[in-house]
């Protein structure tokens, strides 16, 4: 054990500040933190064991008890929550036969846990097994998913994935995105099928892995670009669709393949009667087709070139104008002029609070002489937000270029990029991108032959939402518990290890190169007077088209929902838009014409937050939603200050009373009063914004709270106030019985099914799978 710990220490760094990377490594390699290793570690680092355990127990990534071989994370983020994550959790528990109080199956193969958000909201509900993400789950898919995972697990140990580059000049290029979202939708299978087909038939096609277009509602999708022709898009693919699509675009190479293809086509056409008309429902055109609204109202700055660039192709990035901004900045040799431009651009931090970026940089520019640090904040932990992940996975160089510019201008020699450990692909991509930069003299010592040196370090966050707060983030990088500190002093004065530190969000950094490359007017033309430029949003919820979008600020919520999102699914009525995640608020349908900018949203009790945007329809309960968000922040509270720790707990208890129909009319006022106190008196942003979802729903939907005091949940969502019932429309198809995760519906073919109310967990699965609309939600008090 000593040797093992020593080896880890020699690779990860052997001092106190490296505690978190060391622990993460131990966790990854052992699936938990073995006590013996921690003892050795304490000895080697010359600190107390209890200090290590104190740090480890703060972060959710660490386990002190042994775990199963694979870790199953069930996303309970906002989108997954509204799409039935709870039933998935129960179904998995049942499938793996895990007893109630435990989290690991008898074979010690799987350990299950709930995860705040896996950032794949359009594919909800999703789960992650080790590093594989599976989306669009339902209770029936659990078994095949686990089977497939175990099969793939065997394969993984045998073969490595082939890379998609080919030496011959290809006839065409097939672009595919392998970001976490698309992978969750199954893009890896499509990718494998593409490579297999191409290999088998010898198509002159190159498969190129590109950054995500953000069209999650079509994922997984491919774009085929053949010479001289325009692009063809195919979405919602499955691996068996690939062969047909390739056949129609490429000529097979070699006689056997030609013969085989000709034969199968003949068979299918004449014997099976399957015309190759799969394209009709698979193909789409994001520019001109019915889906064009999705991209039509968007303006891509951060996402410029999405869907075309290989995230890790440095040459391609350079050809597309990459690093010209850095060169311009370095060649001008006048950081002051750059700062002026930044201030004039009116850029505000995209992390949520919207502090003017130029002013923040100014503070660092002044405190010269001392060592300074830069931290790029990619600790995107809000349920329902996945912008930072997509940006890092798709445009790592753009983010890095922004960081390089910042560090050059402010004479900073060390920059940290803090990314949640849950975002494995983002961490890997960023690390690879940095090493590519280092190989090309764009990072490290004497960059581009100048006197400017910068070391770039990726730090993995170990699972604590509060670390998105800058002082907590700094503590976390120092290897301590991420508990926020009182500001002032601000990090710009005394930050990482007491040195001046600039903390900026990933998206802010990705905007910097564009601003350098363009006139100020180009930037200020977009957005509103006080909120310039564009903002990315993770659009999800009950809309037809969701995904990562980037819009000019000042666009109205209505435009986002209707033009980009394509309206509400199943043509239901929109009820509200939740913006800003757990720190944000719910804006009701009558405020849809609110422009999306920092200040307008604040007036209405919402915040931009980092940019989660979830659309809710009439079947969503606002009280339940407030309870959901508050339970998230309450769990993520670091526990330091009273109002955030205990105030949110008391608020949550009150909300739970509402959801159970046990609250009184005057509890609304108690709740509101406490919410205002928590907002005013919490130490950091987490606590100060935690009451927003509650306050905004109390403000716009008081009648829903009132209804709950009478034991009625108008949306039919709150478990304790409703029950499920099957009416005479039942055709006896048994689907509900098969899908029910808790066996509350006895299997009864051709007869009317009955729901056992005792067993039923009101997960809504039966209603969704019923083909004859026979499942009814009834109020507790109804007959």
């Amino acid at each position: 054990m000593m040797d093992y710990v020593q080896r880890v220490l020699s690779e990860e760094g052997g001092s106190r500040e490296h505690l978190l990377p060391i622990l993460l490594r131990l966790q990854k390699e052992n699936n938990y933190l073995p006590e013996e290793a921690l003892k050795q570690l304490a000895k080697a680092l010359d600190i107390r064991l209890s200090e290590i355990i104190g740090v480890a127990s703060f972060y959710t990534q660490f386990r002190l008890k042994p775990a199963g071989r694979h870790r199953v994370k069930i996303c309970v983020g906002t989108a997954c929550h509204v799409k039935g994550a709870e039933s998935i959790y129960h179904a998995i528990k049942k499938y793996l036969r895990i007893p109630d109080e435990e989290d690991t199956d008898a074979d010690k193969l799987f350990t299950i846990e709930k995860a705040a958000c896996l950032g794949c909201c359009m594919l909800a509900p999703v789960i992650q097994i080790d590093s594989s993400i599976y989306g669009f789950l339902n209770t029936q898919k659990i078994k095949p998913v686990f089977r497939e995972f175990l099969q793939q697990d065997k394969k993984r140990t045998r073969r490595n994935l082939p890379t998609g580059t080919q030496e011959r000049v290809p006839e065409g290029i097939i672009r595919i995105c392998l970001c976490s979202s698309c992978q969750a939708a199954g893009s890896m299978d499509v990718y494998r099928a593409l490579l297999d087909e191409i290999g088998m038939n010898g198509y002159e096609a190159a498969v190129k892995v590109v950054g995500c277009r953000g069209v999650s509602f079509k994922a997984p999708f491919i774009e085929i670009v053949t010479s001289g022709e325009s692009s063809f898009f195919y979405g919602n693919l499955e691996s068996h669709d690939v062969r047909k699509i390739l056949e129609s675009h490429f000529k097979p190479n070699g006689l056997p393949a030609k013969l085989f293809n000709g034969f199968t086509a003949l068979v299918e056409k004449n014997i099976l009667g399957q015309e190759a008309d799969i394209f009709k429902h698979l193909s789409f055109n994001p520019e001109t087709g019915p889906e064009s609204g999705f991209s039509g109202s968007q303006t891509h700055v951060v996402l410029e070139g999405s869907g075309r660039l290989d995230p890790l192709d440095l040459d391609a990035y350079r050809k597309a104008g990459g690093f010209s901004a850095l060169r311009t900045t370095m060649e001008s040799g006048d950081p002051e002029r750059f700062l002026q431009k930044l201030v004039k651009s009116g850029l505000r931090g995209r992390g949520g609070a919207g502090f003017p970026t130029g002013e923040k940089w100014r503070l660092l520019a002044v405190s010269d002489g001392r060592e300074k640090y830069f931290i790029c904040n990619g600790d995107e932990g809000d349920p329902g937000a996945f912008m930072d992940r997509m940006i890092i996975e798709s445009f790592p160089f753009r983010v890095l270029e922004g960081i390089l510019i910042a560090c050059y201008v402010l004479k900073i020699a060390k920059a940290f990029i803090y990314i949640r450990a849950e975002y494995e692909q983002a961490v890997q991509k960023m690390k690879q991108a940095i090493s590519l930069l280092e190989q090309n003299n764009l990072a490290g010592r004497k960059i581009m032959g100048s006197g400017f040196s910068l070391s770039l370090i990726v730090i993995e966050g170990a699972g604590a939402f509060v670390c998105g707060e800058e002082t907590a983030l700094i503590k976390s990088i120092e290897g301590r518990r991420g508990m926020p500190e009182i500001r002032p002093p601000y990090p710009s004065e005394s930050g990482l290890w007491g040195k001046p530190t600039l903390v900026n969000n990933v998206e802010t950094m990705a905007l910097i190169p564009w601003i350098v490359n363009h006139d100020i007017d180009d930037f200020t033309r977009m957005g509103t007077e006080k909120s310039r430029g564009t903002k990315t949003f993770a659009l999800a919820g009950k809309i037809k088209r969701g995904g990562l979008i980037e819009v000019p600020m000042g666009i109205t919520l209505r435009q986002i929902v209707e033009e980009i999102g394509g309206g509400i699914q199943e043509d239901k009525k929109i009820k509200a838009v939740q913006i800003g995640g757990p720190s944000g608020g719910c804006l009701p349908a009558n405020l849809l014409d609110t422009p999306v900018d920092f200040d307008s949203l604040e007036i209405h009790g919402a915040v931009m937050g980092s940019g989660g945007l979830i659309v809710l329809d009439e079947s969503d309960c606002m009280v339940d939603l407030a309870r959901y968000f508050l339970s998230f922040t309450q769990q993520e509270s670091c526990g330091k200050c009273l109002y955030c720790r205990t105030g949110t707990k008391r608020m949550l208890e009150l909300l739970e009373d509402f959801c159970r129909g046990e609250a009184e009319q005057e509890d609304m006022e108690t709740l509101r009063r406490l919410a205002v106190s928590v907002q005013e008196r919490s130490l950091c942003g987490l606590g100060r914004t935690a009451p927003n979802p509650v306050l905004s729903t109390l403000r716009y939907f008081p009648e829903e709270y009132e209804a709950h005091t009478r034991g009625i949940c108008p949306a039919g969502k709150c478990r304790d106030l409703i029950y499920y019932d099957i009416d005479d429309n039942c055709i006896g198809c048994t689907r509900c019985s098969q899908f029910c995760p808790v066996e509350a519906i006895p299997f009864n073919p051709y007869k009317k099914h009955v729901i056992n109310r005792e067993k039923c967990i009101r997960c809504d699965t039966c209603r969704r799978v019923c083909p004859s609309d026979a499942v009814r939600i009834r109020g507790k008090n109804d007959g």
Binding site: R48, G54, M483, K640
Partner: protein, 500 residues
């Protein structure tokens, strides 16, 4: 650089680096704190130090807000009080602990039972006796006559059998009464009417406070009603013993003398500085007087009343309490100071323990069943063994707890934020006898920060996160001095050194 600011209308000049708390301290303006410490950086966790910044209109924590030039602060407004009270209510809502043990809460005289028992167990017999006498005057009589709610309330009873509190009192007080003081000069002369239980008790407390006491009884013996109703030779013997001690201590008994309006106004009120009626209600009414329940005073300023003259009770411990209070009231009157009316002390209670919680307390005590005792009276060894069964339910900082103090002063009877379910009771034992009860911990972080400040980071650490945060102690190579500082600074009874 100095700045000038105004707190509650007073101008204060102080260094720019100071906090509002520093400035208020300099001016002698009290601001309550729980997580602040003069040697440590501001932490900003407990939010009881809220003050109003009239310049900005915000409520700010005084401990961590730096002073600025021209700042105007107010600390005494209703708004500030309300806000602090809200903080304290939240702290109390997550505070799971007993300030006082169930036995002492059930005792009408409020005898701190676990405390005197601990003295007994530690061999400090004399101290144990003094505690009991201070509350009960004649513990053996009171406790023998008492229906013993303490033993019914004893949590130990749920495990096997309650601690035998009365037998331990008998062990301590059979043939024993602490002699009363013999001052050279008395504080005054007091006549006590009635030699019943409350009369004797009141005389005892008054004599103890340095008064010359004369007891006037219409019957021919002390405790006349007891003698008739109880046939308890041991008790009668003890009564005789007590009368002897009291007489030797200078208390005068006048038997067979009745009080009427004439001799009261004629002789008694002239001869004595105060008269205390420890009779039935009738004699007071016949004199045209009535007594106030809270002050024990009557319409006549020199006449006081106690016992059944005030409130009909057959509970001996309740009489002991009233006797103690009337004696304090007389004392205050004769010394011409207004008795300070103490606000009702806040009491945090666990109420009924869950089985596993009870087991935690039980595990720390002697698991053996009740000591049968070889004779009527316990031997020293047996008494100590029986004391070992006490679960020590009371809080070791009940009288010094800063949270309790603030709750007493800031909380009204109605608590705004109650926990749906109280936190659970747990007790951890760490090296060097350090005990930790997370239920009482308010996470002020003083122990954590002080241990780091003293050069032992990691000795006291936070474990877990959010509402589940607790303290863990690593006692490895930790000097006693550091432990005593870290434990001693705990504002509540969460951290303490093992009491046994």
């Amino acid at each position: 650089m100095m700045v000038e600011l105004t707190i509650d209308g007073r101008r204060i000049t102080i260094e720019k680096t100071a906090t509002i708390l520093d400035a208020a301290g300099k001016a002698g303006i009290p601001i309550p704190t729980l997580c602040a410490h003069k040697d440590l950086k501001p932490y900003g966790a407990c939010m009881v130090c809220l003050v109003k910044n009239d310049t900005s209109g915000h409520l700010v924590p005084a401990c961590s807000t730096k002073v600025t030039q021209g700042m105007i602060i107010s600390t005494g407004t209703e708004e500030v009080r309300q806000a602090r009270s809200e903080s304290i209510a939240l702290l109390v809502s997550e505070h799971a602990g007993d300030c006082r043990a169930p036995c002492e809460l059930s005792c009408p005289a409020g005898l701190p039972i676990p405390r005197f028992l601990r003295c007994l167990g530690q061999g400090k017999t004399e101290q144990a006796r003094i505690i009991c006498e201070n509350f009960l005057a004649f513990p053996l009589i009171i406790c023998t006559l008492c229906p013993k709610p303490c033993e019914r309330a004893c949590r130990r009873g749920r495990k096997d059998s309650h601690v035998q509190i009365t037998r331990l009192i008998q062990y301590l007080f059979t043939d024993y009464l602490h002699p009363l003081p013999h001052p050279h000069e008395y504080n005054g002369k007091v006549a006590v009417i009635g030699a019943g239980l409350s009369g004797l008790c009141a005389s005892y407390f008054l004599a103890n406070s340095g008064y010359r006491v004369t007891i006037i009884e219409k019957e021919k013996l002390a405790l006349p009603s007891l003698d008739q109703t109880l046939n308890n030779p041991a008790l009668n013997q003890h009564t005789a013993f007590i009368i002897k001690i009291l007489t030797e201590s200078g208390i005068e008994f006048r038997f067979e003398s009745e009080i009427n309006k004439e001799n009261l106004e004629g002789d008694l009120l002239k001869a004595f500085d105060a008269v205390v009626f420890c009779t039935g209600k009738g004699s007071l009414v016949s004199l045209g007087l009535s007594a106030d329940r809270n002050t024990y005073r009557t319409e006549h300023e020199d006449i006081f009343a106690c016992g059944n003259a005030v409130e009909k009770t057959r509970h001996p411990a309740r009489m002991a309490l009233m006797s103690r209070e009337v004696s304090a009231s007389v004392d205050a009157w004769l010394k011409k100071f207004t008795a300070v009316v103490k606000p009702r002390q806040f009491i945090s209670r666990l109420h009924r323990l869950y089985e596993y919680e009870l087991n935690i307390q039980w595990k720390d005590a002697d698991p053996a069943g009740p000591v049968p005792g070889t004779g009527d009276l316990f031997t020293v060894k047996e008494a100590i063994q029986e004391q070992g069964r006490c679960l020590n339910c009371d809080c070791c900082r009940a009288d010094t707890c800063r949270l309790r103090y603030l709750a007493t002063h800031y909380l009204s009877a109605e608590r705004p934020f109650k926990a749906k379910e109280r936190n659970t009771f747990e007790r951890y034992h760490y090296p060097h006898g350090v005990c930790y009860e997370p239920g009482k911990c308010i996470l002020c972080g003083l122990c954590v920060r002080l241990s780091a400040h003293l050069g032992f980071p990691g000795a006291f650490v936070f474990l877990n996160r959010g509402y589940d945060t607790i303290i863990s102690v690593d006692g490895d190579a930790l000097p006693e001095s550091v432990i005593s500082i870290c434990v001693g600074n705990c504002p509540t009874g969460a951290l303490y050194l093992d009491r046994s």
